[in-house]
Amino acid sequence: MQQVLRGVSLNQEQMVLAISAVLFVLFSVALESFFQVSNLLSLLQNVSILGILAIGMSVVIIGRGIDLTMVAVMVFSVGWSFSMYLDGMAIGPALALGLLLALAIGAVNGILIAYVEIPAIFATLAMATAISGLGRFALVDTDTLFITQDLGLLGQIGSGRLGAVVPMPVVLFLVLACLAYVGLRFTRYGAFVYAIGDNYMAARNNGIANRPMTVLMYTVSAAIAFAAGLIMTTTVSTVNTKLANSTMVYDIILVVVIGGIGLSGGKGSIRNVLSGTILIGLLLNGMTIMNISYSVQSIIKAVILLAAIIVDSMLNPRDEQTSQQGDI
């Protein structure tokens, strides 16, 4: 079983793309309303926020971390900005403050993980709870913020269309993906992220400043979360803070893992995020067109995530002799 899977493992990304292609063809043939430009564009638009968040998550996961605060950061940093805006502050300073908050939270995450040495998964889980609490306690005083004013050019970020055809969120998703790709592939810092994720101790012994780099990773993911939140808010004109309590963050992990980025770090690239996003988009769109109800869709999503984790662990099996103690 493992040998068979390992034979395929060289091409996991291609495997995902192949499945996507098969699904695409199947849906196009079987579902009449699928293969239409409007549907395909809305397919992309529906997953673009998820895709953007997945870019941030993938940076952290490649560096052998995980960031469960992304949704909470997204909701409350942007929520705070718009809350101040609605109270009369100019939009520019309000957004700047929100971005600063996001960066600060990212830095705190990084410090907790790198310096206090709390396991990433636990630090960010607890931070997500604390941020949701802080947000509702001090930053945003209602569950839902309605932005009824016209945001002008800023509103175009979410609801505009490039050349009146391609929705701006899709464009921005692709732009951010390119930026992240270049950052990870062609800069020194990108190489450091891979090195840290691949072998933390070896990276340290080679003189890489692991701890500051870790802080940087979480700051980047928080900044990306802020960007995603801004796009989302300008798309739907509301900030719904209850989103922070939802299972959305697990959908982000789903995209990253399904795209083929191993949770043990050091592997994968932004291309995997793209394939994962497309596959999830296809599945959601197909299930929707097939008239599967929302609750059943969540179940199917969870089962797919489980399958992805099982396959991931079979491709990168953990050995009794070499696995790390306390690695949960």
Partner: protein, 341 residues
């Protein structure tokens, strides 16, 4: 005899207060009309407790504003414990209050049956209980809130009106948690009413749990599944704004109507009616409810009846708002309620 004593002690107290210059002289010299002194004394040292579902949204903020205003005016103590949507935390808060024995316990019940036993316990402990907006099957001293069956019927009628001839007649229902009173009663109202409109079909009936983001996901799914959908019939504006956003994202604003119900808050209600997010809106006016709640508290503190001995209800009247009928005064803001408007 009793009166005399009370009066002398009051006079003595006011005299003392006046001597140290704490109270205003007007109070000290006020003539009694036979009731006022009793009225004034009825609120002294009284405690009113309120456990909302969450203090974080427009309805509860409206009620709290009115209560706070009266608490300050009349001089009773208002305690609010916010379980933030958590039923267990709400039960703990209620149990704590029962142990502390306030004079009046007000609560809002997200789940039809969850607090039933607690209501009975509170009344046995001698506390007057007011149920706010969402009622349990047990009667307490007072219920103030929407007539959810009629609300369901009204939104259904509006949905039917919008989806008459020339449309597909397909509607989708978005309810809250299925065991929440507005869902339980409201959906019954919707279904019973729509029986009279054979051209209307309910293509989906899903629970968005009062959550806008969930409503958004459900609505965008339904929109894709039924491209010719005519209307969403929802049961709360805070939730249905998610559905309206999904409609707008799909570029179908105006084609798919969102009919909803709400407390008539300016931001979540009227603003969204004006900008076309909601095509029709059944207002269960929170402003009225807030005033009624404050009055009921004011009354019960004076009459102090045996708990549950004479239950009464104040069912809020429904008002219809559409983009055509909405005016600057159709809705309220928390600040207005706070200020007494």
């Amino acid at each position: 005899m009793e009166f005399g004593k009370l009066k002398t002690s009051l006079a003595l107290a006011t005299l003392l207060c006046g001597a140290v210059g704490v109270q205003s002289p007007a109070f000290a010299e006020r003539p009694d009309d036979g009731l006022y002194d009793l009225y004034e004394a009825a609120f002294e040292g009284k405690r009113v407790a309120f456990v909302p579902i969450s203090a974080g949204y427009d309805l509860t903020q409206g009620w709290i504003a009115a209560l706070e205003r009266d608490a300050e005016r009349l001089g009773y103590e208002l305690q609010i414990r916010d379980p933030n949507w958590n039923i267990d935390a709400g039960a703990q808060a209620l149990e704590q209050f029962i142990a502390e024995e306030p004079d009046i316990l007000i609560f809002q019940n997200n789940d039809m049956h969850a607090y039933t036993k607690l209501v009975q316990r509170a009344m046995r402990a001698g506390i007057n209980v007011i149920q706010m907006n969402l009622k349990t099957p047990v009667n307490s001293d007072a219920f103030i809130g929407g007539d959810w069956y009629k609300v369901g019927a009204d939104v259904a009628k509006e949905g039917a009106r919008m989806c008459g001839e020339g449309t597909s007649g397909k509607v989708a229902v978005l309810q809250g948690p299925v065991t929440s009173p507005p869902s339980l009663l409201g959906v019954a109202g919707i279904e019973d009413t729509l029986k009279d409109y054979p051209n209307i079909t309910i293509v989906a009936n899903q629970a968005a749990d009062w959550d806008a983001s969930k409503a958004h996901s459900i609505a965008s799914t339904i929109i894709k599944q039924h491209g010719d959908l005519c209307a969403f019939i929802g049961l709360w504006d805070n939730q249905d704004i998610g559905a309206a956003a999904a409609v707008r994202e799909a570029g179908l604003q105006g084609k798919i109507k969102v009919v909803t119900e709400g407390g008539g808050n300016q931001k979540s209600g009227c603003d969204n009616i004006s900008n076309g997010m909601f095509a029709s809106y059944v207002k269960v006016d929170t402003r009225d409810q807030a005033k009624q709640l404050a009055s009921v508290v004011e009354t019960l503190l004076q009459t102090d009846p045996e708990p549950g001995s004479a239950p009464f209800g104040l069912y809020t009247a429904n008002t219809l708002l559409t983009p055509e009928t909405v005016t600057a005064t159709s809705c309220w803001t928390v600040d207005q309620i706070q200020a007494g408007n």
